[in-house]
């Protein structure tokens, strides 16, 4: 059986999930029979992309859905052509259940298409595709527009260029619902978010934005404020909140260090406090708490900047950036992401590690190795492939996140094989001492054979942690043997390349754009790949930022200021809708602009928290039926449960 078919429950739609790119004739047939779940059209430089949920009973196997869809006009909108966006580029959401039609060839789309289908190991020859695409001439373009026009909820008249009547749409792209606060002003105060770290004497250590001369007076004020309440009121200031302008100032005082976060992004006190704790933990990971106190013991005026290294500031900046602008759910969810592999594959790797550890007990006596990790690194995110840990013990996620942050920086300018021996304090493990990490780069691979962009590069890293300062050679020997063993048993193939990365379209959850599923027992989460065509960094950043805001908003809607959920079990829907605007007459001219309108914002999200799991879900634009959203959410949950052993590390190699 095909690996993908085995992995995903796709038997019911196997006819469309054969993994073979459809030919023109097939595509044409599918359009007529309304059997295709997706349609992608490239009109010159404009890409129109739609998602159509399965409507054919024989395909979807969901009679209820179908009858519901047919009985309600609004729902019918989802089954028909439902999204038309002007000048919109496509995100490669093509899975085997989505067909693509390029009416005129565009290399970008071609690349995107190819990229999306590479999992199926059935990539058509580009030249063939080009030939086929070229056959779609102006006639077919018109034909498609006619079909769009005939569709109930497309823009029939607008396509003809007559009126601008607006109809409900469903899109696979998500619009901006939140205020874009990333425009950078001239001063550091204009940033929507900032972090300040200073000593109890008011000496600056770090700020995310701002030159020294700008921030020094502020550091003085922050220090005065914190000290005032400590001395005069015997208490600590936690936050200052400004309700109208939605600004929050959060303070943490951990003598001799003071930290302050500034945000006008509506984060809760708990979120900001957790972020400050992470920054403080980073400092402690670099200089442990005992050392820090010793440094300041008789020299309260000590300038810690002289003690820290450049890499420390780089890492702090990187952490701040991840906290502020990137979609890095590890921090928000306080969980880790796992590398997906089959249960038996992971078990074999763990067994190999375990057996090697027993066999090598002479070279690596008990107590030498505390923890071990095999990590996959892609797009500046780490995924756990395998874990070696003592029975009944595990490292705190913050400690691991700090470790990841450190490794990220160490490997950023890597030029070949590298081994590192780093003393790191894990603050949640023991804030007064160091552990020693042996870090070895194992391999590099390109996930996309055709592309060569940095985001396609996947690194694999081995981390072995010991409490012994002089255990480098022991760990290195063990690491080398382990790698050789994994290679000889061909187990390395399981994690060198991400064979099982999945997209939202791989799950039968109609109209869902993206989700995050956290399983509380394992403190791990899973989410579909975030991809954007052509690996455009700016677009990716914007997209990630958008998702981050949606998820942040979903989370904040059900927790109090202290980060506690209002209930043990929560099911909360959120819906954002654009206010009706008066119609504005569009200037005549560009035919395409007249044909395609900006879609109306109509977004829906869901957060589902139970004692077992947390699900955060964002739908495609145009969805407003909660029943459909709930049904999709249930499907995602059952999918995640079905493949739990693949998606999450349940035990690891314990000793």
């Amino acid at each position: 059986m095909n690996i993908k078919d085995q992995y995903l429950d796709t038997t019911s739609i196997s006819s469309l999930r054969s993994g073979v790119r459809p030919t023109k004739s097939q595509t044409s047939f599918n359009i007529q029979s309304r059997a295709q779940p997706s349609l992608s059209i490239n009109l010159d430089n404009t890409i129109v992309q739609t998602i159509i949920p399965p409507v054919n009973n024989s395909l979807s196997g969901d009679i209820e859905d179908n009858s519901l869809l047919h009985s309600h006009p609004r729902l019918r909108s989802m089954q028909s052509i439902s999204s038309i966006a002007s000048r919109r580029t496509t995100r490669p959401n093509t899975s085997s259940d989505q067909l693509s039609v390029n009416t005129s060839f565009n290399p970008i789309i071609e690349q995107s298409f190819t990229y999306c289908n590479n999992n199926n190991n059935n990539i058509d020859d580009p030249s063939t595709i080009r030939t086929q695409d070229a056959a779609f001439g102006e006639e077919i373009r018109k034909d498609l527009i006619d079909r769009l026009a005939q569709s109930i909820y497309s823009y029939p008249t607008s396509l003809a260029g007559n009126t601008n009547e607006f109809k409900p749409v469903v899109s696979n792209e998500i619009p901006d619902v939140f205020i874009n606060d990333n425009q950078i002003g001239s001063t550091f105060q204009s940033h929507a978010k900032n972090f300040f770290i200073l000593t109890s004497a008011g000496k600056p250590i770090f700020s995310m934005f701002g030159e020294d001369k700008e921030i020094i007076p502020y550091m003085g004020i922050i220090n005065t404020v914190v000290s005032y309440f400590q001395i005069n009121e015997s208490t600590n200031i936690k936050t200052i909140k400004l309700n109208k302008t939605k600004q929050t100032f959060a303070f943490t005082s951990k003598a001799p260090i003071i930290l302050m976060a500034y945000s006008r992004r509506g984060e809760t006190t708990n979120e900001l406090m957790t972020q400050l704790d992470l920054l403080y933990s980073y400092l402690i990971s670099s200089i442990n708490e005992r050392q820090l106190k010793r440094l300041f013991h008789n020299r309260s005026n000590f300038d810690l900047r002289n003690f820290l290294e450049v890499t420390d500031f780089d890492n702090l900046r990187q952490i701040c950036s991840l906290l502020s602008n990137k979609l890095y759910p590890d921090f928000g969810l306080n969980a880790l992401q796992c590398f997906v592999m089959r249960k038996n594959e992971r078990a074999r790797i763990h067994d190999t590690i375990h057996n090697l550890l027993i066999n090598e007990n002479k070279n690596i006596p008990r107590g030498t190795l505390l923890y071990g990790l095999i990590l996959s690194y892609k797009r500046k995110m780490f995924k756990l492939c395998a874990v070696i840990r003592p029975k009944g013990h595990s490292l705190h996620t913050i400690d691991l996140q700090l470790l990841f942050s450190l490794i990220t920086h160490q490997f950023e300018n890597r030029d070949g094989d590298q081994e590192l021996w780093l003393p790191i304090c894990f603050p949640k493990f023991n804030s007064n001492g160091f552990l020693y990490s042996y870090i070895k780069y194992l391999s590099r691979s390109n996930s996309n054979n055709l592309g060569s962009s940095s985001s396609d590069i996947e690194d694999t890293v081995l981390v072995l942690i010991s409490a012994q300062k002089d255990a480098f050679y022991k760990l290195k020997t063990f690491g080398d043997k382990l790698w050789n063993k994994l290679q000889s048993d061909k187990l390395n193939e399981y994690f060198i390349k991400d064979r099982f990365k999945f997209r939202i379209s791989d799950i039968q959850a109609p109209l869902v754009h993206h989700f995050m599923y956290k399983i509380k027992k394992y403190v791990q989460y899973v989410m579909p790949e975030i991809e954007i065509h052509n690996d455009d960094t700016n677009k990716l950043n914007r997209y990630e930022n958008k998702l981050k805001k949606f998820y942040g908003h979903l989370y904040n809607s059900v927790v109090d200021d202290n980060g506690l959920p209002i209930n043990k079990t929560i099911l909360n829907y959120l819906h954002w809708e654009e206010e009706e605007e008066e119609e504005v007459e569009e200037a005549e001219g560009n035919e395409i602009e007249n044909d395609f309108q900006r879609e109306k914002i109509n977004m829906m999200g869901l957060i589902w928290i139970t004692p077992q799991f947390e699900l955060y879900l964002i739908c495609n634009n145009g969805v407003n039926n909660k029943e459909i959203v709930l049904r999709s959410a249930k499907r995602i949950i059952s999918w995640c449960k079905k493949y739990e052993s693949r998606l999450f590390i349940q035990e690891g190699a314990t000793f």
Binding site: P73, F178, I240, K244, D561
Partner: protein, 657 residues
């Protein structure tokens, strides 16, 4: 617990040496009162100003900020900036941050305090005008002393006031509107061509030649006593049992009255603070004072069962009143003396003393003679009909109100008919109000109008309540208003403060003065000219003893009315979390946001926020009676069921989809 209260005007200080000049008012509550040195006070002034400057130095959204919330480990300091210059700050110590399990006074979320801080300022403006109008700083300080300290002191002694008005206090710029007028309009429109109750007021008073432009506006409030439904023997009529939905301003007649939210909130505040509106309460001569409760007898009496006009009930009241007269009489005297020598209550003590020997147990029949018209009680609470020996604030209350562009002082009279309160706003130059016959005529017309209103109310056939709770804040109106049927949390913090001797004294004083055989002479004239509104002998004290209050009246039929008070309090806190996150949300201005979630106690909660309004709908999730959807397209709003959607359509609000 309230810790201290500070009012600052930084513009008064120009250097370090005259920093003390910026301090207008500093007051400490409780045991620490008076313990702070000038240096401590100046420190507080400095830190408030310093923090304000720090927060303002960051570029926000461009709006001028007018409130800061400073959270410490177990204390919260709330600062508001008014008139672009003055800072008012209160601090709450022993503050417990959100904890669903706690129903302690210290767990009242700071948002309720903040709402009251704004109300406190607005009430001051109502009484005295803006801070900046005071040229003499000493006068400002004196007025602040008189107004703001007593306001917060009453809250300090009775913190339950903070939550008795419900979550509507979170929108201090709006006011709650009763939906009684809407109900009557829809009921009577098709039935009769007779002059309606409001037309009667409009034609016979406001448009009358005699009072045209002299009487600027008449505000009609429906203020049923908080626990009427628990006093089954008293005033067991429909109108006194209607719930939160019908509480509030029924109607006013001027379209340009911009102070409507402030005056309405002031009246609601008095109602929540003192349970009932009386002449003393309106005149500002009734305040709580901390008195050690050493007499167990008082507790026993107060812990008794529901007071009513049954033999036992009346006996309970008589005993209570008797104790008021005998045991805490010295407290009463002290209070009256202390509240203000100039207020004139002390002069009315002579009446009190004179009538003590003439005390006799009144009977039900005695009570009935106090209802000159069909057994209904009505009359002036504040009017020039008050005895000449009473101070001027028993005759008229001068309020700084805004009709149109500029605020100015108006003479305001108060009149009641059972649970309805009429606020008559007159121009200062309108002399007719000093004419007793004019006032009697006015009273007569108002009584006819109210009688009509009550008759209409009796004839209402359709259910008066929906089976779900809602709160709608209409931000789009020129005068923002709020409609709500979410009941308030009554009796949550029943820690005994309601049963203090002083509380009884306040009750006793008011009721004593309004006793028919004391204040009504043989001709049926109210010789004192002071009164208490509502049906006599309705007391809420006994019903508040239980933490679990069931509101089983057929007219209070939302499921929230029968919810246990501690569960209702948890619901409040959860709503507050949602509202907080909505306020923090940085959605674009033209985006509306909807939320739908099921709470653990089986309440389905829907919230919508858009530039026009904020809507909260609470529905019983287990109520399967209305689980049909209006369409099969299950949007978040439609999911609430056909009863909600049809109600929304009737409300003429725009419906989604």
């Amino acid at each position: 617990m309230l810790k201290d209260l500070v009012v600052i005007d930084p513009t008064r200080s120009h250097n370090d040496e005259d920093a003390h000049k910026s301090l207008i008012l500093f007051h400490e509550f409780g045991e620490t009162a008076g313990g702070s040195s000038l240096n401590d006070k100046l420190n507080r002034v400095g830190i408030i100003q310093g923090l304000w400057s720090l927060t303002q130095s960051f570029e926000g959204t461009g709006d001028e900020e007018d409130e800061n919330v400073i959270e410490l480990d177990n204390e919260v300091i709330l600062v508001i900036k008014v008139e672009s210059r003055y800072f008012m700050a209160i601090s709450i110590n022993e503050y417990e941050y959100f904890d669903n399990n706690s129903s302690d006074v210290n767990s009242i979320p700071y948002q309720f305090y903040l709402g009251h801080l704004w109300l406190c300022y607005k009430f001051f403006i109502l009484k005295h005008g803006e801070f900046s109008k005071f040229k003499d700083n000493a006068i400002l300080t004196n007025n602040l002393n008189e107004h703001i300290i007593t306001f917060w002191n009453d809250i300090y002694l009775k913190p339950e006031t903070l939550i008795r008005q419900g979550i509507s206090v979170l929108w201090p710029n709006t006011f709650k509107r009763s939906e009684l007028a809407d109900l009557l309009m829809s009921e009577t429109m098709t039935t009769t061509d007779e002059e309606s109750w409001d037309t009667m007021i409009n034609r016979r008073i406001l448009l009358q030649e005699e009072s045209y432009l002299g009487v600027k506006d008449i505000l009609i409030y429906n203020l049923p006593s908080n626990c009427d439904s628990q006093a089954p023997c008293v005033a067991a009529d429909k109108k006194s049992k209607i719930g939160t939905k019908y509480f509030g301003l029924v109607q006013n007649f001027s379209q340009t009255f911009e102070s409507l939210p402030d005056i309405s909130n002031w009246i609601y505040h008095l109602t929540q603070q003192y349970d009932v509106i009386s002449s003393h309460v309106l005149a500002g001569n009734t305040h709580y004072k901390e008195v050690p409760t050493t007499d167990d007898i008082d507790h026993n009496n107060a812990d008794g069962t529901t007071a009513g006009i049954t033999g036992n009930g009346f006996s309970t009241f008589r005993n209570k009143l008797y104790h008021n007269m005998t045991l805490p009489i010295s407290f009463a005297y002290d209070v009256v003396q202390e509240v203000g020598v100039t207020t004139g209550v002390s002069s009315s003590m002579s009446y009190l003393k004179n009538y003590i020997p003439a005390w006799s147990s009144p009977t039900i029949n005695n009570l009935d003679i106090s209802h000159p018209v069909e057994g209904k009680r009505y009359g002036y609470l504040i009017s020039p009909l008050a005895q000449s020996s009473l101070p001027s604030n028993y005759k008229i209350i001068k309020l700084n109100l805004k009709f149109g562009s500029h605020p100015k002082f108006y003479n305001v009279l108060f009149w009641y008919y059972e649970n309805m309160l009429a606020v008559i706003i007159c121009d200062e130059t309108f002399e007719a109000i000093w004419n007793h016959s004019y006032l009697n005529d006015l009273s007569f017309i108002l009584s006819l109008s109210m009688e009509k209103l009550h008759q209409n109310l009796e004839s209402v056939k359709k259910p008066m309540q929906e089976n779900f709770g809602y709160l709608i804040v209409d931000k789009n109106k020129s005068i923002p208003e709020l409609k709500s049927s979410v009941p308030s949390c009554m009796g949550l913090f029943n820690t005994g403060q309601n049963n203090s001797p002083l509380n009884l004294v306040i009750d006793g004083l008011d009721k004593l003065f309004s006793m028919p055989n004391l204040s009504i002479d043989k001709n049926g004239e109210n010789v004192l000219g002071i009164d208490i509104m509502g049906s006599l002998f309705q007391t809420s004290k006994a019903t508040e003893n239980s933490n679990i209050i069931k509101r089983n009246s057929p007219y209070n039929n939302t499921f929230l009315d029968s919810m246990e008070v501690d569960k209702l309090w948890i619901l409040y806190k959860e709503l507050l979390i949602f509202l907080n996150s909505l306020n923090r949300s940085d959605t674009k201005p033209d985006i509306s946001e909807e939320r739908l979630l099921t709470l653990s106690n089986g309440v389905l909660c829907y919230i919508k926020n858009d530039p026009q309004r904020t809507v909260i709908i609470l529905k019983n999730w287990f109520d399967s009676k209305y689980d049909d959807y209006p369409t099969k397209e299950v949007t978040l709003f439609n999911n609430l069921g056909i009863d909600v959607t049809s109600w929304w359509v009737k409300k003429k609000y725009d419906v989604e989809g």
